[in-house]
Protein backbone atom coordinates (compact mmCIF):
# COMPACT_ATOMS: atom_id res chain seq x y z
CA UNK A 1 0.00 0.00 0.00
CA UNK A 2 3.09 2.24 -0.02
CA UNK A 3 1.98 4.04 -3.19
CA UNK A 4 -1.20 5.16 -1.42
CA UNK A 5 0.63 6.66 1.56
CA UNK A 6 -0.25 10.31 2.11
CA UNK A 7 2.31 12.91 1.05
CA UNK A 8 3.55 14.93 4.00
CA UNK A 9 5.40 18.21 4.43
CA UNK A 10 5.52 21.04 1.94
CA UNK A 11 5.30 20.41 -1.78
CA UNK A 12 8.90 20.53 -3.11
CA UNK A 13 9.67 23.20 -5.70
CA UNK A 14 10.32 20.51 -8.33
CA UNK A 15 7.00 18.82 -7.56
CA UNK A 16 5.15 22.12 -7.61
CA UNK A 17 6.66 22.92 -11.00
CA UNK A 18 5.87 19.53 -12.53
CA UNK A 19 2.44 18.99 -11.02
CA UNK A 20 0.96 22.49 -10.97
CA UNK A 21 2.94 25.27 -12.63
CA UNK A 22 3.86 23.67 -15.96
CA UNK A 23 0.48 22.03 -16.70
CA UNK A 24 -1.37 25.23 -15.82
CA UNK A 25 1.04 27.32 -17.90
CA UNK A 26 0.62 25.02 -20.92
CA UNK A 27 -3.15 25.38 -20.68
CA UNK A 28 -3.00 29.14 -20.17
CA UNK A 29 -0.57 29.69 -23.05
CA UNK A 30 -2.75 27.59 -25.35
CA UNK A 31 -5.40 30.29 -24.98
CA UNK A 32 -3.15 32.98 -26.48
CA UNK A 33 -4.09 33.07 -30.13
CA UNK A 34 -3.48 36.70 -31.08
CA UNK A 35 -0.52 36.04 -33.37
CA UNK A 36 -2.42 33.43 -35.38
CA UNK A 37 -5.44 35.72 -35.70
CA UNK A 38 -3.33 38.68 -36.78
CA UNK A 39 -1.50 36.48 -39.28
CA UNK A 40 -4.79 35.19 -40.65
CA UNK A 41 -6.14 38.72 -40.98
CA UNK A 42 -2.99 39.78 -42.85
CA UNK A 43 -3.28 36.80 -45.20
CA UNK A 44 -6.87 37.63 -45.96
CA UNK A 45 -6.00 41.29 -46.69
CA UNK A 46 -3.36 40.06 -49.13
CA UNK A 47 -5.98 37.73 -50.72
CA UNK A 48 -3.96 34.69 -49.69
CA UNK A 49 -5.86 31.56 -48.72
CA UNK A 50 -5.86 29.92 -45.32
CA UNK A 51 -3.84 26.72 -44.97
CA UNK A 52 -4.71 23.36 -43.51
CA UNK A 53 -1.77 20.96 -43.50
CA UNK A 54 -3.21 17.46 -43.32
CA UNK A 55 -0.79 14.76 -42.16
CA UNK A 56 -2.23 11.37 -42.95
CA UNK A 57 -1.32 7.81 -43.89
CA UNK A 58 -2.92 5.79 -46.65
CA UNK A 59 -2.76 2.63 -44.52
CA UNK A 60 -4.68 4.34 -41.70
CA UNK A 61 -8.48 3.95 -41.97
CA UNK A 62 -9.06 6.93 -39.66
CA UNK A 63 -7.00 9.00 -42.12
CA UNK A 64 -9.36 7.90 -44.88
CA UNK A 65 -12.37 9.15 -42.91
CA UNK A 66 -10.60 12.41 -42.05
CA UNK A 67 -9.35 13.24 -45.56
CA UNK A 68 -12.75 12.56 -47.14
CA UNK A 69 -14.51 14.60 -44.45
CA UNK A 70 -12.10 17.54 -44.43
CA UNK A 71 -12.03 17.85 -48.21
CA UNK A 72 -15.76 18.48 -47.98
CA UNK A 73 -15.55 20.88 -45.04
CA UNK A 74 -12.81 22.98 -46.67
CA UNK A 75 -14.58 23.16 -50.03
CA UNK A 76 -16.30 26.52 -50.41
CA UNK A 77 -13.79 28.30 -48.17
CA UNK A 78 -10.80 30.25 -49.36
CA UNK A 79 -8.56 27.62 -47.79
CA UNK A 80 -5.83 25.43 -49.29
CA UNK A 81 -5.93 21.84 -48.05
CA UNK A 82 -2.36 20.57 -48.25
CA UNK A 83 -2.09 16.77 -48.23
CA UNK A 84 1.08 15.64 -46.40
CA UNK A 85 1.18 11.83 -46.53
CA UNK A 86 3.50 10.00 -44.15
CA UNK A 87 4.39 6.36 -43.58
CA UNK A 88 6.43 6.34 -40.37
CA UNK A 89 4.62 7.80 -37.38
CA UNK A 90 3.48 6.99 -33.85
CA UNK A 91 5.17 6.88 -30.47
CA UNK A 92 8.65 5.33 -30.50
CA UNK A 93 8.69 1.97 -28.72
CA UNK A 94 4.89 1.92 -28.32
CA UNK A 95 4.02 -1.63 -27.22
CA UNK A 96 0.44 -1.26 -28.43
CA UNK A 97 1.12 -0.43 -32.10
CA UNK A 98 -0.52 -3.55 -33.51
CA UNK A 99 -3.48 -3.32 -31.12
CA UNK A 100 -4.01 0.30 -32.13
CA UNK A 101 -3.91 -0.63 -35.83
CA UNK A 102 -6.62 -3.24 -35.31
CA UNK A 103 -8.75 -0.94 -33.15
CA UNK A 104 -8.41 1.82 -35.76
CA UNK A 105 -10.41 -0.29 -38.22
CA UNK A 106 -13.31 -0.67 -35.74
CA UNK A 107 -13.09 3.00 -34.81
CA UNK A 108 -13.00 4.18 -38.43
CA UNK A 109 -16.02 1.98 -39.20
CA UNK A 110 -18.04 3.88 -36.57
CA UNK A 111 -16.71 7.29 -37.66
CA UNK A 112 -17.53 6.53 -41.30
CA UNK A 113 -21.04 5.47 -40.29
CA UNK A 114 -21.60 8.95 -38.86
CA UNK A 115 -21.31 10.20 -42.48
CA UNK A 116 -23.31 7.34 -43.96
CA UNK A 117 -20.19 5.58 -45.26
CA UNK A 118 -19.19 1.93 -44.83
CA UNK A 119 -15.70 0.49 -44.66
CA UNK A 120 -14.96 -2.34 -47.07
CA UNK A 121 -12.08 -3.81 -45.05
CA UNK A 122 -12.04 -5.62 -41.71
CA UNK A 123 -8.29 -5.91 -41.17
CA UNK A 124 -5.45 -3.37 -41.15
CA UNK A 125 -3.23 -2.75 -44.18
CA UNK A 126 0.54 -2.91 -43.64
CA UNK A 127 2.11 0.58 -43.95
CA UNK A 128 4.54 -0.63 -46.61
CA UNK A 129 1.71 -1.81 -48.85
CA UNK A 130 0.48 1.74 -49.44
CA UNK A 131 3.83 3.55 -49.28
CA UNK A 132 3.73 4.01 -53.06
CA UNK A 133 0.60 6.17 -52.71
CA UNK A 134 2.37 8.37 -50.15
CA UNK A 135 5.36 8.71 -52.48
CA UNK A 136 3.21 9.66 -55.46
CA UNK A 137 1.32 12.24 -53.42
CA UNK A 138 4.38 13.71 -51.73
CA UNK A 139 6.09 14.24 -55.08
CA UNK A 140 3.24 16.22 -56.66
CA UNK A 141 2.46 19.94 -56.32
CA UNK A 142 -0.38 20.69 -53.89
CA UNK A 143 -3.74 21.81 -55.20
CA UNK A 144 -7.33 20.68 -55.74
CA UNK A 145 -6.27 17.95 -58.19
CA UNK A 146 -4.00 16.36 -55.61
CA UNK A 147 -6.72 16.54 -52.95
CA UNK A 148 -9.11 14.92 -55.41
CA UNK A 149 -6.64 12.08 -56.02
CA UNK A 150 -6.18 11.51 -52.28
CA UNK A 151 -9.93 11.38 -51.71
CA UNK A 152 -10.50 8.98 -54.61
CA UNK A 153 -7.57 6.74 -53.68
CA UNK A 154 -8.68 6.53 -50.04
CA UNK A 155 -12.27 5.84 -51.06
CA UNK A 156 -11.10 3.03 -53.33
CA UNK A 157 -8.71 1.68 -50.69
CA UNK A 158 -11.00 1.73 -47.64
CA UNK A 159 -14.58 2.03 -48.89
CA UNK A 160 -14.69 0.00 -52.11
CA UNK A 161 -12.06 -2.74 -52.08
CA UNK A 162 -10.51 -5.48 -49.97
CA UNK A 163 -7.48 -7.67 -50.54
CA UNK A 164 -4.01 -6.71 -51.79
CA UNK A 165 -3.18 -3.14 -52.80
CA UNK A 166 -1.74 -2.97 -56.33
CA UNK A 167 -0.23 0.23 -57.83
CA UNK A 168 -1.72 -0.52 -61.25
CA UNK A 169 -5.23 -0.14 -59.74
CA UNK A 170 -4.45 3.41 -58.61
CA UNK A 171 -2.54 4.69 -61.65
CA UNK A 172 -5.76 5.47 -63.59
CA UNK A 173 -7.01 7.57 -60.66
CA UNK A 174 -3.72 9.45 -60.68
CA UNK A 175 -3.80 10.09 -64.42
CA UNK A 176 -7.44 11.22 -64.26
CA UNK A 177 -6.68 13.73 -61.50
CA UNK A 178 -3.19 14.88 -62.42
CA UNK A 179 -2.78 13.87 -66.06
CA UNK A 180 0.77 12.63 -65.73
CA UNK A 181 2.63 9.52 -64.66
CA UNK A 182 3.19 9.22 -60.92
CA UNK A 183 6.70 9.49 -59.56
CA UNK A 184 8.37 6.28 -58.49
CA UNK A 185 10.74 5.69 -55.56
CA UNK A 186 10.10 9.25 -54.32
CA UNK A 187 10.69 8.60 -50.63
CA UNK A 188 12.35 11.97 -49.95
CA UNK A 189 9.08 13.85 -50.01
CA UNK A 190 7.53 11.40 -47.56
CA UNK A 191 10.46 11.66 -45.16
CA UNK A 192 10.23 15.48 -45.44
CA UNK A 193 6.54 15.31 -44.48
CA UNK A 194 7.37 13.06 -41.51
CA UNK A 195 9.99 15.55 -40.26
CA UNK A 196 7.63 18.47 -40.79
CA UNK A 197 4.86 16.66 -38.91
CA UNK A 198 7.11 16.16 -35.88
CA UNK A 199 8.17 19.82 -35.96
CA UNK A 200 4.53 20.91 -36.00
CA UNK A 201 3.73 18.68 -33.00
CA UNK A 202 1.62 15.75 -34.20
CA UNK A 203 3.01 12.32 -33.40
CA UNK A 204 0.39 10.27 -35.17
CA UNK A 205 -2.15 10.46 -37.97
CA UNK A 206 -4.49 11.86 -39.08
CA UNK A 207 -3.54 15.34 -37.86
CA UNK A 208 -4.48 18.75 -39.20
CA UNK A 209 -2.32 21.79 -38.52
CA UNK A 210 -4.37 24.98 -38.80
CA UNK A 211 -2.43 28.21 -38.31
CA UNK A 212 -0.70 27.47 -35.01
CA UNK A 213 -2.95 24.75 -33.62
CA UNK A 214 -3.20 21.08 -34.46
CA UNK A 215 -6.03 18.61 -34.10
CA UNK A 216 -6.47 14.89 -34.57
CA UNK A 217 -8.44 15.25 -37.78
CA UNK A 218 -10.73 12.23 -37.36
CA UNK A 219 -11.63 13.22 -33.79
CA UNK A 220 -12.15 16.95 -34.27
CA UNK A 221 -13.55 17.73 -37.77
CA UNK A 222 -16.13 20.19 -36.45
CA UNK A 223 -13.50 21.91 -34.31
CA UNK A 224 -11.23 22.32 -37.36
CA UNK A 225 -14.08 23.98 -39.23
CA UNK A 226 -14.73 26.17 -36.18
CA UNK A 227 -11.04 27.15 -36.11
CA UNK A 228 -11.25 28.25 -39.74
CA UNK A 229 -14.41 30.22 -38.95
CA UNK A 230 -12.63 31.92 -36.02
CA UNK A 231 -9.75 32.89 -38.30
CA UNK A 232 -12.17 34.41 -40.80
CA UNK A 233 -12.13 31.69 -43.45
CA UNK A 234 -15.83 30.95 -43.29
CA UNK A 235 -17.73 28.91 -45.83
CA UNK A 236 -18.94 32.14 -47.39
CA UNK A 237 -15.41 33.59 -47.65
Amino acid sequence: MSEARASRGRLSPADALARRVIPRAVVALSQLDGAARLGAAARRRLHRPGRVELYFAFDDPCSAVAVIDLAGRVAGRDVALLPRPVVRRGIAGDPAVELKRSYAVADARRLAARSGLALSRDVPIAPGATAFLAEWTASAPPGPALVSFCVQALERLWLRTGGPVVPADYAPLWRAALGDRPATAATRGVRRNERRMRRRGPYDTPAAWVHGQWFFAHDRPAQIAHRLDQLGWTAAS
Binding site: A6, R20, V27, Q31, P95
Partner: protein, 196 residues
Protein backbone atom coordinates in the same frame (compact mmCIF):
# COMPACT_ATOMS: atom_id res chain seq x y z
CA UNK B 1 -33.49 -5.75 -19.74
CA UNK B 2 -30.57 -3.83 -18.24
CA UNK B 3 -27.18 -4.23 -19.96
CA UNK B 4 -23.86 -4.05 -18.16
CA UNK B 5 -21.75 -1.11 -19.34
CA UNK B 6 -18.21 -0.97 -17.95
CA UNK B 7 -16.28 2.27 -17.67
CA UNK B 8 -12.50 1.98 -17.36
CA UNK B 9 -11.35 5.27 -15.88
CA UNK B 10 -8.14 6.88 -14.64
CA UNK B 11 -8.02 9.83 -12.26
CA UNK B 12 -4.82 10.90 -14.01
CA UNK B 13 -6.55 11.11 -17.40
CA UNK B 14 -8.09 14.48 -18.24
CA UNK B 15 -10.09 12.78 -20.99
CA UNK B 16 -11.61 10.54 -18.30
CA UNK B 17 -12.50 13.71 -16.41
CA UNK B 18 -14.26 15.11 -19.50
CA UNK B 19 -16.12 11.82 -20.00
CA UNK B 20 -17.24 11.47 -16.38
CA UNK B 21 -20.41 13.60 -16.27
CA UNK B 22 -21.76 12.21 -19.56
CA UNK B 23 -20.79 8.63 -18.64
CA UNK B 24 -22.56 8.68 -15.30
CA UNK B 25 -25.63 10.28 -16.92
CA UNK B 26 -26.04 7.39 -19.37
CA UNK B 27 -28.16 5.23 -17.01
CA UNK B 28 -30.67 8.09 -16.84
CA UNK B 29 -31.33 7.73 -20.57
CA UNK B 30 -30.52 4.10 -21.28
CA UNK B 31 -31.23 0.77 -19.58
CA UNK B 32 -27.63 0.20 -18.54
CA UNK B 33 -25.89 -0.66 -15.32
CA UNK B 34 -22.75 1.50 -15.38
CA UNK B 35 -19.89 -0.34 -13.69
CA UNK B 36 -17.01 1.90 -12.64
CA UNK B 37 -13.57 0.29 -13.01
CA UNK B 38 -10.73 2.55 -11.93
CA UNK B 39 -7.32 1.70 -13.43
CA UNK B 40 -3.74 2.58 -12.55
CA UNK B 41 -2.42 5.39 -14.82
CA UNK B 42 -0.43 4.43 -17.92
CA UNK B 43 2.64 6.29 -16.70
CA UNK B 44 2.57 4.20 -13.50
CA UNK B 45 2.32 1.00 -15.55
CA UNK B 46 5.71 1.54 -17.21
CA UNK B 47 4.27 3.04 -20.42
CA UNK B 48 6.06 6.20 -21.44
CA UNK B 49 4.06 9.21 -22.56
CA UNK B 50 6.16 11.45 -24.84
CA UNK B 51 6.30 15.19 -24.31
CA UNK B 52 4.49 15.93 -27.59
CA UNK B 53 1.55 13.82 -26.44
CA UNK B 54 1.49 15.36 -22.95
CA UNK B 55 1.45 18.89 -24.38
CA UNK B 56 -1.18 18.10 -26.98
CA UNK B 57 -3.43 16.41 -24.42
CA UNK B 58 -3.52 19.49 -22.18
CA UNK B 59 -4.21 21.85 -25.11
CA UNK B 60 -6.82 19.59 -26.69
CA UNK B 61 -8.59 18.95 -23.39
CA UNK B 62 -8.78 22.69 -22.80
CA UNK B 63 -10.45 23.19 -26.18
CA UNK B 64 -12.84 20.34 -25.51
CA UNK B 65 -13.58 21.56 -21.98
CA UNK B 66 -14.50 24.99 -23.34
CA UNK B 67 -16.75 23.37 -25.95
CA UNK B 68 -18.45 21.17 -23.34
CA UNK B 69 -18.71 23.94 -20.74
CA UNK B 70 -16.58 22.01 -18.24
CA UNK B 71 -14.04 23.84 -16.02
CA UNK B 72 -10.41 22.85 -16.69
CA UNK B 73 -6.97 24.28 -16.14
CA UNK B 74 -6.28 24.68 -12.42
CA UNK B 75 -4.44 21.38 -12.29
CA UNK B 76 -2.63 19.37 -9.65
CA UNK B 77 -1.24 16.25 -11.38
CA UNK B 78 -2.11 13.30 -9.11
CA UNK B 79 0.41 10.84 -10.55
CA UNK B 80 1.69 8.52 -7.83
CA UNK B 81 0.07 8.59 -4.39
CA UNK B 82 -2.77 10.90 -5.41
CA UNK B 83 -3.96 8.61 -8.20
CA UNK B 84 -3.66 5.46 -6.06
CA UNK B 85 -5.54 7.03 -3.13
CA UNK B 86 -8.38 8.08 -5.42
CA UNK B 87 -8.53 4.59 -6.91
CA UNK B 88 -8.81 2.99 -3.46
CA UNK B 89 -11.45 5.44 -2.29
CA UNK B 90 -13.19 4.95 -5.65
CA UNK B 91 -13.59 1.24 -4.87
CA UNK B 92 -14.90 2.09 -1.40
CA UNK B 93 -17.32 4.54 -3.04
CA UNK B 94 -18.58 1.74 -5.30
CA UNK B 95 -19.36 -0.31 -2.16
CA UNK B 96 -21.09 2.72 -0.63
CA UNK B 97 -23.09 3.38 -3.82
CA UNK B 98 -21.53 6.82 -4.23
CA UNK B 99 -19.01 6.24 -7.04
CA UNK B 100 -20.65 8.82 -9.29
CA UNK B 101 -20.38 11.51 -6.64
CA UNK B 102 -16.80 10.63 -5.71
CA UNK B 103 -15.43 10.20 -9.23
CA UNK B 104 -16.91 13.50 -10.38
CA UNK B 105 -15.81 15.39 -7.25
CA UNK B 106 -12.27 13.99 -7.24
CA UNK B 107 -11.62 14.45 -10.95
CA UNK B 108 -12.99 17.99 -10.88
CA UNK B 109 -10.79 18.71 -7.86
CA UNK B 110 -7.71 17.42 -9.68
CA UNK B 111 -8.28 19.03 -13.09
CA UNK B 112 -10.15 22.24 -12.31
CA UNK B 113 -9.41 23.16 -8.69
CA UNK B 114 -5.77 22.10 -8.18
CA UNK B 115 -6.65 19.97 -5.16
CA UNK B 116 -3.73 17.84 -4.00
CA UNK B 117 -5.37 14.46 -3.40
CA UNK B 118 -2.06 12.92 -2.34
CA UNK B 119 -2.52 14.71 1.02
CA UNK B 120 -5.20 14.06 3.57
CA UNK B 121 -6.78 17.55 3.59
CA UNK B 122 -7.28 17.52 -0.21
CA UNK B 123 -8.59 13.98 -0.37
CA UNK B 124 -10.82 14.54 2.64
CA UNK B 125 -12.37 17.57 0.96
CA UNK B 126 -13.39 15.64 -2.18
CA UNK B 127 -14.56 12.63 -0.13
CA UNK B 128 -16.83 14.82 1.97
CA UNK B 129 -18.15 16.62 -1.10
CA UNK B 130 -19.13 13.17 -2.37
CA UNK B 131 -20.99 12.43 0.84
CA UNK B 132 -18.45 9.86 2.06
CA UNK B 133 -17.28 9.55 5.65
CA UNK B 134 -13.62 10.50 6.00
CA UNK B 135 -12.78 7.80 8.57
CA UNK B 136 -14.22 5.16 6.22
CA UNK B 137 -12.22 6.60 3.30
CA UNK B 138 -9.05 6.70 5.40
CA UNK B 139 -9.61 3.03 6.24
CA UNK B 140 -10.07 2.24 2.53
CA UNK B 141 -6.53 3.52 1.89
CA UNK B 142 -5.21 0.61 3.99
CA UNK B 143 -7.57 -2.03 2.56
CA UNK B 144 -5.63 -4.62 0.57
CA UNK B 145 -8.85 -6.10 -0.86
CA UNK B 146 -9.64 -2.76 -2.52
CA UNK B 147 -6.10 -2.61 -3.88
CA UNK B 148 -6.65 -6.07 -5.35
CA UNK B 149 -9.75 -4.80 -7.14
CA UNK B 150 -7.84 -1.85 -8.61
CA UNK B 151 -5.13 -4.19 -9.85
CA UNK B 152 -7.73 -6.55 -11.29
CA UNK B 153 -9.37 -3.65 -13.14
CA UNK B 154 -6.01 -2.67 -14.58
CA UNK B 155 -5.31 -6.24 -15.69
CA UNK B 156 -8.81 -6.47 -17.18
CA UNK B 157 -8.18 -3.42 -19.37
CA UNK B 158 -4.93 -4.93 -20.62
CA UNK B 159 -6.75 -8.22 -21.15
CA UNK B 160 -9.18 -6.45 -23.45
CA UNK B 161 -6.22 -5.43 -25.60
CA UNK B 162 -6.57 -1.80 -24.66
CA UNK B 163 -4.08 0.75 -23.43
CA UNK B 164 -5.71 4.13 -22.78
CA UNK B 165 -8.78 5.48 -21.02
CA UNK B 166 -11.61 6.19 -20.83
CA UNK B 167 -12.83 2.92 -22.33
CA UNK B 168 -16.44 1.79 -22.37
CA UNK B 169 -17.24 -1.90 -22.79
CA UNK B 170 -20.70 -2.91 -23.96
CA UNK B 171 -20.92 -6.65 -24.60
CA UNK B 172 -17.98 -7.38 -26.88
CA UNK B 173 -17.76 -3.82 -28.23
CA UNK B 174 -15.18 -1.32 -26.97
CA UNK B 175 -15.36 2.44 -27.27
CA UNK B 176 -12.19 4.35 -26.50
CA UNK B 177 -12.32 8.07 -25.79
CA UNK B 178 -14.64 10.72 -24.42
CA UNK B 179 -15.37 11.69 -28.01
CA UNK B 180 -16.79 8.23 -28.77
CA UNK B 181 -19.68 8.53 -26.32
CA UNK B 182 -21.90 9.50 -29.25
CA UNK B 183 -21.02 6.21 -30.98
CA UNK B 184 -21.71 4.35 -27.75
CA UNK B 185 -25.10 6.07 -27.55
CA UNK B 186 -25.82 4.96 -31.13
CA UNK B 187 -24.96 1.38 -30.17
CA UNK B 188 -27.22 1.62 -27.11
CA UNK B 189 -30.08 2.96 -29.23
CA UNK B 190 -29.50 0.25 -31.87
CA UNK B 191 -29.67 -2.33 -29.08
CA UNK B 192 -33.08 -0.99 -28.06
CA UNK B 193 -31.81 0.23 -24.69
CA UNK B 194 -33.00 3.84 -24.90
CA UNK B 195 -35.60 4.65 -22.26
CA UNK B 196 -38.94 5.88 -23.59
Amino acid sequence: MTERLELFFSFRSPYSYLAGPRAFALPERFDVDLVFRGVIPMAMRGQSVPKAKRLHTLRDVKREAVRLGVPFGRIHDPIGAGAMRCLLVGEHAVDAGREREFVLAASRGIWAEAIDVSRDPGLREVCERAGLSWPDCAAALEDSALLGRVEANTRALAGLGHWGVPVFVLGDELFWGQDRIEDLETALRDAGLERR
